[in-house]
């Protein structure tokens, strides 16, 4: 079998035509993972569990039972999503020996649909980062150029798919952590609407921004996985029920083909400092879409320039609260030598958190602290209102927006580790979708300097359908 060519549908076709069995496919994935150990894409493997699941699928096929939509499909899971009985570290030393006591809702849904869970993928510690260099277990390498970062924080998941170690993967996206690594690795990454997918069992980073999303080889695969994991969950109060989604999407006008679609190009996303080759690729793609009949309209999101600043206030504020639970008492590492409880906190957190969590916890604590709350945190939440209003307004004129995913292609490992601000600027085009809660996908758009370029399609709140449709047009026919 050729792992390179396997999409979800092709995997199932291969299984049904007996070209390969689920057990053979699973073993092949583990063989490749072993061979590509140098990439450091995986932190833990689920060999026994995966093979047991594969045998069940093979029996189903032998007995002629119909396949469920992910039966036999190998999937890699970002390490901050809990898979029962498997170590889930979130890339942190503080959870080095933490065995997940339950399945996240998305994992339960994947298992019910027959997916084979290969293992847990490397990531920036607690998803704090844009390069996967902040993992306590060493950086992941970009399979397209091993001297480069894969992006982050879902770098392990992106490389697992890009290097054909897995057919698909799950990541989490708080400011671009699914889309940015997908872009830098040359695969598809999708962040759903805030509230579309349950976060129960996802280690919380910034709760008003976090969403779980798929990383895949094709837009269709991303759509299949999204449809598997989406839906209301009583265990996540921010998840939105189907009835409400139907009411919202019922108001959208139905678009049958590209000629009915108006694509907005926000002028604020074509900035100086952007790599000119990346920009050229994106602009070429836009004019191809125009030639094929799509209406292209330049639009403005006047507050776009403030989105990154809003993000780097709200996110660390929420991080500082969410990471308070890693205290040496509830789970994970604990410094035993402490005299009293307070010292347990201080020493456990000092020794087991990496620099980036420390930086963001302190930044968050600062912007929430008395005397600074109004100037930073409240100001950011007010600007968030304006950013959201910009999008609402623009979506009365256009059906979706197209932008680059990142201002540059993958950078070298080590290049930005000592300059947090330079690292943060990588997220400049992706954070807005999280700040406003809208869906966005990144998909490959040619190459620049021999490395993949990503193009981003953003849609309105619960406008997933049109996002997938336009993404497929870009992917298949251009």
């Amino acid at each position: 079998m050729d792992l390179k060519k396997l999409t979800i549908k092709k995997t199932q076709e291969g299984l049904l035509s007996k070209e390969f069995s689920a057990v053979e496919l699973t073993k092949e994935c583990f063989k490749e993972i072993e061979k590509e150990k140098d990439l450091n894409a995986f932190l833990a493997l689920n060999k026994d569990g995966a093979l047991i699941q594969a045998e069940i699928i093979d029996k189903k096929i032998t007995s002629g039972e119909a396949l469920k939509k992910l039966d036999g499909v190998p999937i890699a899971i970002k390490d901050n999503i809990l898979v029962k009985d498997i170590i889930s570290t979130s890339g942190s030393k503080i959870l080095e020996n933490y065995v997940a006591p339950y399945d996240a809702t998305v994992i339960q849904k994947l298992k019910e649909s027959g997916a084979i869970i290969l293992g847990k993928t490397n990531m920036d510690e607690f998803a704090l980062g844009s390069s996967t260099e902040n993992s306590a277990f060493g950086p992941t390498k970009n399979s397209r150029n091993r001297e480069c970062v894969p992006g982050g924080s879902s770098g392990g998941s992106a490389v697992a798919v890009a290097a054909d170690l897995s057919v698909a993967a799950l990541g989490s996206d708080t400011g671009g952590s699914v889309r940015q690594p997908a872009s830098l690795c040359g695969v598809v990454g999708f962040k759903p609407t805030y509230g579309a997918v349950s976060r129960y069992g996802l280690m919380a980073m910034a709760s008003s921004l976090d969403q779980i999303g798929p990383i895949t080889k094709t837009v269709e695969d991303a759509e299949i996985i999204f449809n598997t994991i989406r839906g209301k969950d009583k265990l996540d109060s921010t998840s939105v029920d189907d009835e409400r989604v139907k009411i919202i999407t019922g108001k959208f006008s139905k678009k049958k083909n590209l000629k009915d679609i108006t694509i907005g190009i926000p002028k604020e996303y074509f900035i100086s400092g952007m790599d000119s080759e990346v920009e050229k690729n994106i602009k070429n793609k836009i004019s191809e879409l125009e030639k094929r009949g799509a209406k292209i309209k330049e639009v403005s999101l006047p507050h776009a320039d403030y989105a990154l600043a809003v993000y780097y206030i709200i996110m660390p504020a929420e991080v500082s609260a969410n990471l308070a639970r890693y205290d040496g008492i509830r789970y994970g590492a604990s410094e035993r030598g402490a005299k009293n409880l307070l010292e347990t906190y201080f020493k456990t957190r000092a020794k087991n958190f990496g620099d980036e969590p420390k930086r963001r916890i302190m930044l968050g604590t600062y912007v929430l602290s008395s005397g600074y709350y109004d100037a930073y945190y409240l100001q950011a939440q007010k600007m968030r209102t304006l950013i959201q209003e910009d999008f609402k307004k623009v979506f009365t004129e256009v059906d979706c927006l197209i932008t680059p995913t990142t201002p540059t292609t993958a950078f070298k490992i080590g290049e930005k580790v000592d300059d947090p601000l330079a690292m943060y600027l990588n997220d400049i085009f992706t954070v807005s979708a999280n700040v406003a809660g809208i869906p966005a996908i990144s998909l490959p758009c040619g190459e620049a300097h021999g490395l993949p370029v990503g193009i981003q399609v953003m849609g309105q709140w619960f406008g997933e359908e049109i996002v997938f449709e336009v993404a497929k047009e870009i992917e298949n026919k251009l």
Binding site: P101, Y102, Y194, G195, S208, K234, S237, T238, R244, Y306, L308, A309, V310, Y312, I313, S320, A324, G328, I329, R330, Y331, S334, A338, K339, N340, L341, L342, E343, T344, Y345, F346, K347, R349, A350, K358, R359, I361, M362, L363, T365, Y366, S369, A375, Y376, Q379, A380, Q381, K382, M383, R384, T385, L386, Q388, P420, L421, Y424, V435, A436, G437, W461
Partner: protein, 97 residues
């Protein structure tokens, strides 16, 4: 926006993080540069704008106030993952001297 080493130490204290002298120096420099960037929000007059704390546009998600029992195995599993425990209870260091 310049944060002094003393200010950083105060914040670290609030966040329950022990910092070395060297770390305090490094972090005060890095966090100051980030604050310098996000400060641009203060250029804008937002006095008449309402804040958005959640984009979910849903509020008051309630459930019945009913206790759902947890089976013994789950309880044991949860206690087992704590660093220190005894007789099904989580053990912590003394709070008072």
């Amino acid at each position: 926006m310049e944060l002094t080493k003393e200010e950083i130490s105060h914040i670290a204290n609030l966040a329950r993080l022990e910092l070395s002298e060297k770390e305090a120096g490094k972090f005060s420099e890095q966090i100051s540069s980030i604050l310098g960037y996000v400060k641009k929000l203060q250029e804008v007059d937002l006095s008449k704008v309402e804040p958005t704390f959640s984009v979910a546009e849903i509020s008051n998600v309630l459930r019945d106030d009913k206790v759902e029992a947890c089976d013994k195995k789950t309880m044991e599993d949860l206690i087992k993952i704590t660093p220190e425990n005894e007789n099904g209870l989580v053990k912590v260091r003394a709070v008072f001297e």
